[in-house]
């Protein structure tokens, strides 16, 4: 069954494929037949127009001369050239090279770059600032040597001799004086000691029980 809508869509393709004669099914429908003829005329005229727009041969002589000049001015891009030139062009190509990247990938790369940049900056700031000095109070126990003075009365049992004579008394005094003279303790080099050994002798005193 003929369908004008689908047929009209086919007409363009038929004409662009080079069909010049209407298919039989188009002849049965006046609308489609007119569509075919009008589009055929449109394509014919536009094609004729492009041929008419072509400049004359004189123009082409000038065109080719100008093209030749531009090619010469641009230089020989694939010539071997000097090493410096080839190095320069290689560098220029490297600098001006571009690659096409999908937008999401590009955005993700940019975000990652920005994030890492922020992290690096933060780290650098941390390193640059001097460490803050904090005072911490910690109680420390230091042993203090305390000198104790212990006073103790020590009673020493002494043998009381009955001195019979005064002569003996004087001799005794002189011998005591000698012994005292000999036994006088010197304090040089004396060091107090922490430990005091005491010997308590019971019964040393008559009052002691």
């Amino acid at each position: 069954m003929h369908n004008c809508k689908t047929t009209k869509e086919r007409i363009t393709e038929l004409l662009l494929s080079g069909a010049q004669v209407q298919p039989v099914e188009l002849r049965e429908c006046s609308d489609c037949s007119n569509e075919f003829e009008s589009l055929k005329e449109t394509l014919r005229i536009s094609r004729r127009q492009i041929e008419a727009a072509a400049p004359s041969e004189t123009y082409w002589n000038g065109y080719h001369a100008r093209l030749r000049n531009r090619l010469v001015e641009s230089g020989n891009p694939h010539s071997s050239g000097s090493p410096e030139q080839s190095g320069g062009s290689w560098l220029r190509r490297l600098i001006t090279a571009s690659i096409s990247v999908p937008v999401p990938v590009g955005a993700a790369v940019l975000l990652m770059f920005a994030f890492s940049l922020v992290v690096l900056i933060r780290r650098a700031v941390k390193v640059a600032t001097p460490p803050t000095v904090s005072v911490v109070h910690v109680p420390v126990e230091v042993p203090v040597i305390q000198e104790k003075v212990v006073t103790k009365v020590v009673y020493r049992e002494s043998k009381r001799k009955v001195v019979s004579s005064s002569a003996n008394q004087s001799v005794a005094d002189s011998s005591l004086a000698k012994s005292q003279k000999i036994n006088v303790p010197s304090l040089i080099g004396f060091k107090p000691t922490d430990e005091v050994k005491l010997t308590v002798i019971k019964g040393g005193s008559p009052d002691e029980k």
């Binding site: 449109t42 727009a53 400049p55 082409w60 065109y63 531009r70």
Partner: protein
């Protein structure tokens, strides 16, 4: 690709600039007309088409004879056209009247006027399309590329390419006021009034 063309390509790849110029002369008209219908202006068309040749000259080493030279060149042409700044499009009415154009007489012939009227009508119709739609129409109608080839080259779907061609044809038909009844006569009448 015939032998002489292959020979020219090989010589051009071996740094023979003259060979490249000879190779270019085989296709300059085709590229120029495509550029002319794309950008609507004769001087812009010359710049654009010569830009195509400069790029081809720089990239010639990459041609590996995997396809025809023109297929390779057309790829460069499409990319160059798409990169062409839209702001560069000037909606001048064309007349290919450069200094090189030899009219031969100050009085243009009737045929020249007729062609100018025809050209302006077609250009106005194409001017109502977007640059991409216009290029798709030119590639399909003038270059005979398939929709798949166009879709691949233009980075769009085959459906989009088809719609662009239909739209362009519709605009052209309306601008040319084609109704199967004496279109040629009407254009001739316009040329007389011009």
């Amino acid at each position: 690709m015939n032998d002489s063309e292959t020979d020219l390509i090989r010589r051009a790849q071996a740094h023979d600039a003259e060979a490249f110029c000879s190779l270019a002369e085989l296709y300059t008209r085709r590229i120029y007309l495509l550029a002319l219908h794309y950008c609507h202006d004769a001087s812009d068309a010359e710049d654009l088409s010569q830009e195509v040749w400069l790029k081809a000259y720089q990239a010639l080493q990459s041609f590996r004879f995997d396809s025809s030279f023109y297929t390779w060149l057309r790829r460069i042409t499409i990319n160059t056209f798409l990169n062409y700044q839209r702001s560069n499009f000037s909606r001048k009415s064309l007349v290919v009247s450069s200094e090189d154009e030899d009219t031969g007489s100050s009085l243009a012939s009737e045929e020249t006027i007729y062609n100018n009227v025809l050209f302006e009508s077609v250009m106005n119709a194409l001017g109502e399309l977007t640059p991409s739609q216009r290029l798709i129409f030119l590639l399909r109608h003038y270059e005979g590329m398939s929709y798949d080839e166009i879709a691949n080259a233009m980075n769009c779907s085959a459906g989009t390419a088809k719609k662009s061609v239909w739209r362009a044809l519709g605009k052209l038909r309306n601008k040319l006021e084609i109704n199967n009844e004496g279109t040629e006569d009407r254009l001739a009448q316009l040329a007389t009034e011009y």
